[in-house]
Amino acid sequence: MRKENGMTATQPITGPVTEASEQPGATGSPSGGRKPGGDARETLYFALRNPKVIIGMVVVLGFLLLGLLGPAFLRYAPMDYAGPPMAPPSADFPFGTTTFGQDVFAQFVAGLRSTFLVGLLGGGVSAVIGMTIGFVAGYRGGLIDELLNMLTNVVLVIPGFVVLIIINAYLGVRSVPMQALYIGVFSWPWVARAVRAQTLSLRSRDFIDLARLSGVGVGTILRREVAPNMYSYLFMTFVLLFGGSILTAASLDFIGLGPTNAMSLGLMMNQAVQWSALHLGLWWWFIPPGLGITLIVGSLYIMNVGLDEVFNPKLREM
């Protein structure tokens, strides 16, 4: 538990991020020089044979299914006073109950939903912002590039986690989507930088000039010529952003800045600590959410490493 606390609380945005910006970066030049594509089938073939991808995917999808289907089998709502207080796991309450007799399993399932929602929305928001800025800056160059670069650097040096704490404390976070939005708005800079760098090097290729000679506009060129060369990279980026958002959200929830109208895994741990679950020996209250977050985020990173091997033939273990 203590170890997990340490991980969630002291590794704010910058933790996964610095790692992240290097990992796909190691893939090197835009994957255009990579094997010619159209070989989606081949990619899938290697993906399905890569243990890291498989393990990561199974764990993540397992939790996702539990989050999606779980509520259908629950008899109690997460906040209901459902049974005897502080009951250890039993047939009726697979994860036991809290000090107030709430069903921990019901809370866990609801928490999984918010966790995936935060990952999806937060990752989505930062991916959209980062990629848009990266593409435009890299392709247009010149003054636009310099301005966008400045913006990126400003957001990059802002201690995102601290700002999130301030925003959360002052504005209050009512809902999970709101929290995801805030997280997304502060975690895009490294995406923008990486995408910009790759776009910059792709832009000088002759096929971009040829597309321009075909009378095609900037948007079309970015969408049809530049982005497809980076699909694998963009996908991996999204996986990392997904994991990063989950971790940040959990950290915020844990220090009591989570959404007020929803249950989340971080919030569960927050309450567990608040009500001295640790001292009372109620391990079933804090182990499931802690382990859940660790497994989900860990699996996402493992999956990312695996995907790197899949997309980058040089790394494939034959």
Binding site: G32, G33, P36, F207, L210, L213, S214
Partner: protein
């Protein structure tokens, strides 16, 4: 058809664009229909920069570009689309000219979506077959392949076919055969000859003097962004005037003459032209001394060619510039 007048290009380099790189200086040339004009110069002399400015892939810093009398120096998106119906380019590296992750067909598909959205599938296919036939490619060998499955020569011909689909009038060919092996070079060169016979104008960019000799009607010799000599191919090759051109030609083998003859001729020319500058002599003959010219360049600026980067007509159709090499050097005739 295509006319460049005193075209200039300055690249901003260094952080914050602090230093300037004058890549193209006061370049004036023209290309007519049914004519191949070779733009010859060593690597870094600004050939590609000129080609890209003609193709509107780069903005020019000064000067004008006209096409059929119409000023096309600055074009909006719409006008550029129309311009590209008549003017197309092919570049040096065929493998970089295709998006490596897509089949080569997509290049044609892009063109179709952009310019011929109403043409039916079968009609398009027959046009495509015609264009491929014109560059002696078999559709079945080519279509449905990835770029890395084809040879450089095939890819370059594909790109020419792409240009032909648009029914173009001017082709900018930027070192299109320098990356091909010898056996396919000649095919592509001959293809250019056929295009010329069809009435196309071709701006043939090359660093290889003998290639320029082989295909072109006129040549333009470029050194460090400046035209040093320009004229009919035979005139320039038989009687090179500028020291840079003479250096270049001295290293090119001649089929019809022995080395001794060539060297003797060059020695005679060197003796005749040593310490002289035909450009400044001609300018002086027009009643202006070197000093006056420099002064007028500083003062007026009204279409006046500054700083001796202009050309004089030494013989009909044969132009030569000041005999110094780099723009920074002094004129060998002294001033």
């Amino acid at each position: 058809m295509l006319t460049l007048t005193q075209l200039d290009k300055v690249y901003k380099t260094g952080t914050f664009g602090t230093s300037d790189l004058h890549a193209v200086r006061q370049v004036s040339l023209d290309v007519q229909r049914g004519e191949v004009v070779s733009l010859i110069g060593e690597s870094g002399s600004g050939k590609s920069t000129i080609g890209k400015m003609v193709l509107h892939l780069l903005d020019s810093t000064g000067g004008t570009i006209t096409f059929d009398g119409r000023d096309v120096t600055k074009l909006g998106f719409r006008a550029r689309r129309d311009y590209y119906r008549k003017v197309q380019g092919v570049f040096q590296d065929p493998f970089s000219s295709f998006n490596p992750i897509f089949k080569v067909d997509r290049t044609f598909e892009t063109l179709r979506q952009s310019y011929f959205p109403k043409v039916s599938g079968s009609e398009w296919r027959s046009r495509l077959d015609d264009a491929l036939a014109a560059v002696t490619l078999e559709p079945d060998d080519i279509l449905g392949k990835f770029p890395h499955q084809l040879s450089g020569g095939q890819l370059q011909r594909l790109l020419i076919a792409r240009a032909l689909l648009l029914d173009i009038e001017l082709l900018v060919a930027d070192e299109i055969i320098s990356m091909l092996d010898a056996s396919t070079r000649i095919d592509v060169l001959n293809l250019l000859g056929e295009l010329k016979a069809r009435g196309l104008g071709i701006l043939f960019v090359t660093h290889d003097l003998s290639l320029g000799n082989y295909v072109s009607d006129r040549v333009v010799i470029l050194y460090k962004g400046r035209i040093v000599e320009r004229g009919d191919t035979t005139a320039v090759f038989d009687d090179p005037l500028h020291p840079y051109t003479r250096d270049l030609l001295a290293s090119v083998p001649h089929l019809d003459r022995t080395w001794e003859e060539v060297e003797a001729e060059e020695a005679g020319r060197a003796a005749r032209l040593a310490g002289r500058c035909l450009y400044h002599e001609a300018v002086a003959a027009q009643g202006r001394s070197l000093g006056e010219e420099a002064a007028s360049a500083e003062g007026s600026g009204s279409g006046e060619v500054p700083d001796g980067v202009g050309l004089v007509e030494y013989a009909p159709g044969h132009f030569v510039g000041c005999f110094r090499k780099a723009a920074e050097e002094p004129c060998p005739a002294g001033s």
